[in-house]
């Protein structure tokens, strides 16, 4: 069964774009990036009947669920797609970030910028504490433990005073004004821009990691973990790092989230959230960051746009997961590597 023959017959969006990108000049690439990024920032201003959604304004939807799903899916992708660890408790990192900002802003008056750092730090700490014992286990058992961790975080939040118990915490501070932008409850646009900026930063860091040694290490571990170990790759260390970095993203995002909703309760951080983000990663194409972001955005958008999907959204996610695994396990935009080609202009290798 020759791979080359099969891919020729299928319409492959990824390859078509890849071909263009490979042959584009440096200037063309810069222009492309500027246009796309500009478009993304301009999105909230496109609130019109065509794009807009029935119940809330477009900007809100862009922030949540589209933007939040997208960035969390990118974070989870580092864990699941890159490091090959099935994490069913990703919401725990999100919750830790959210509660960190809530508690620190209410009790100590720290603002969001500081709390994002704290949120990430605590999430990373949790990642290390859970990861060191758990990552020694095999796939499905590791998955169950992460699920357990997610639930434990929620139940603890439900039962202790610091987190406000079942009533949660209200009066969480919105971020302080920056560049003349005010973060108000009724206007989601600045929040969306903040989220978008964070997402671009994460993507930037991710691309650099992937192109270099960590990317190779992760890929080798996913291909054949034992052989990677024999080839000098410190597999445990890299798996742990993947887990912790993915968690850091979740923690940072959680802090931003709580600053927007301004009141949080444990019911916001259920297993279902973990599974929905996982569905985004699965749908988008595990390991491929563009697919994952796009998939998440689509999965966030369509249930909002199509009313009948709204109520049955989770039902739809469930079916989607079963369908994707059985029919198109590689997702929207598959991870599969393309053959490397030498850039015509610079003579340099083009990496992905």
């Amino acid at each position: 069964m020759s791979t080359a023959q099969v891919t020729k017959k299928r319409f492959n969006l990824r390859d078509k774009f890849g071909d263009w990108w490979e042959n584009a000049t440096r200037t063309q690439r810069v222009i492309f990036r500027v246009v796309v990024i500009g478009f993304l920032y301009a999105l909230p201003l496109l609130d019109n009947p065509v794009f807009g959604t029935t119940e809330s304004d477009f900007a809100s939807v862009l922030f949540y669920p589209m933007g939040m799903y997208a960035i969390m899916a990118i974070g989870l992708n580092i864990i699941v797609g890159k490091s090959g660890i099935l994490d069913l408790g990703y919401v725990a990192f999100f919750a830790i970030g959210a509660y960190t900002h809530a508690i620190f802003s209410i009790s100590f008056g720290f603002n969001l910028w500081v709390n994002i750092i704290f949120g990430m730090a605590f999430a990373m700490l949790a990642g290390v504490m859970l990861g060191i014992p758990a990552l020694r286990l095999r796939g499905d058992y590791l998955a169950i433990i992460t699920l357990g961790f997610g639930e434990i975080v929620r139940i603890v939040a439900l039962n202790i005073n610091v987190t406000g118990g079942a009533a949660g915490l209200a009066g969480v501070a919105a971020p302080p004004n920056i560049f003349g932008l005010e973060f108000r409850v009724d206007d989601a646009k600045p929040f969306y821009w903040l989220l978008l900026t964070l997402m671009l930063l994460v993507i930037w860091a991710y691309i650099r990691l992937i192109a270099r040694r960590p990317g190779r290490a992760w890929e080798a571990i996913r291909e054949d973990e034992d052989v990677a170990e024999f080839m000098g790759v410190a597999t445990f260390k890299y798996k742990l790092w993947g887990f912790v970095l993915g968690g850091a993203v979740g923690g940072g995002v959680g802090a931003v989230y709580s600053s927007q909703v301004t009141s949080i309760v444990p019911e916001l951080f259920t297993l279902q959230v973990s599974i929905m983000i996982l569905a985004c990663v699965v749908f988008g194409g595990m390991g491929n960051i563009w697919g994952v972001a796009l998939g998440a955005a689509l999965l966030g958008y369509f249930p909002e746009k199509l009313r009948f999907l709204s109520d049955t959204r989770i039902l739809f996610f469930g079916v989607l997961m079963v369908l994707m695994m059985n029919v198109r396990p590689n997702g929207l935009i598959p991870r599969k590597k393309r053959e490397k080609v030498y850039d015509k202009h610079s003579g340099q290798e083009v990496t992905r």
């Binding site: 791979t3 650099r208 270099r212 040694r213 080798a220 024999f230 080839m231 790759v233 790092w241």
Partner: protein, 258 residues
């Protein structure tokens, strides 16, 4: 003694009730091509697995450069200078040939994860070092034209070479080759023999597991024979060929159809 790069002392390996290796003593000296032969199931690959840290021996010691490496994790042992190939070719299929070798070359770099993100510290020079080292090795093995192809798409012969190139990227003291000639035709085996000698001449000691007797006899400096987990003979190829115990164990007819 001091020129023994790799040494295995009184090695016993037991899996539950099965004794795979029993009080085995082996060594590989500097600058030599040593061969480990024996009937199927004699325990040869088990020796590789123990020596590279995949299994902890029930008893005995493994020394690399006169230092015990017992209990070290495989990746640490790989970095200390023991690299291997596999009976069934095990490449990183969805990575390119170059990337396969770079992954191993990376092991000799120091750059940490955080530094990689920001491109600071030694990340840039390390990256180009891995790149050039990998390219160099691909050329050395004669497959530089495959650099950009996915490992799984390579023809069998080139896959075997790639595996060796990848192992060499670890700059090992001793290179462990597990049946490198499997599936080759006689012409290819001759070429492989030359290649292994070239590797030895470049400064790497080689320990090879092989079934093809003529290849072993032609290129090895020393041969060690295992049978049922025990070493039954050791010496030059000629000595071993004429050793009655070895002949009884399995030789009889040196068969090329292996």
């Amino acid at each position: 003694m001091s020129d023994r790069l790799l040494e295995v002392r009184n090695l016993t390996m037991q899996f539950g009730g099965v004794v795979a290796l029993s009080d085995v003593n082996l060594h590989v000296s500097e600058g030599e091509i040593a061969a480990l032969i024996g009937p199927n199931g004699a325990g040869k690959t088990t020796v590789f697995n123990v020596v590279t840290g995949y299994y902890q021996p029930t008893q005995g010691d493994v020394l690399l450069n006169n230092q015990s490496i017992l209990g070290l994790k495989p990746h640490k042992i790989a970095r200390k200078g023991l690299a291997r190939t596999f009976q069934n070719v095990r490449l990183f299929g969805d990575m390119t040939a170059l990337e396969n070798v770079m992954t191993a070359a990376d092991a000799k770099n120091k750059v940490g994860l955080v530094a990689s993100i920001f491109g600071v510290g030694s990340s840039k020079p390390d990256e180009s070092r891995s790149h050039s080292k990998a390219a160099e090795l691909l050329t050395f093995m004669g497959i530089s034209h495959r650099a950009g192809q996915l490992a799984k798409n390579l023809p069998y012969g080139d896959q075997r070479r790639l595996e060796i190139a990848r192992a060499l990227a670890l700059e090992p003291e001793v290179l462990l080759l597990d049946e490198p000639a499997a599936g080759f035709n006689p012409q290819e085996k001759v070429e492989l023999g030359e290649l292994i000698k070239k590797i030895r001449d470049a400064g790497f000691a080689v320990l090879l597991i092989e079934h093809d007797m003529s290849l072993v006899m032609k290129i090895s400096d020393r041969v060690m024979v295992l049978d049922f987990g025990q070493k039954i003979a050791e010496g030059t190829p000629k000595e071993v060929q004429n050793n009655q115990k070895v002949i009884d164990a399995y030789l009889g007819v040196a068969d090329h159809a292996s």
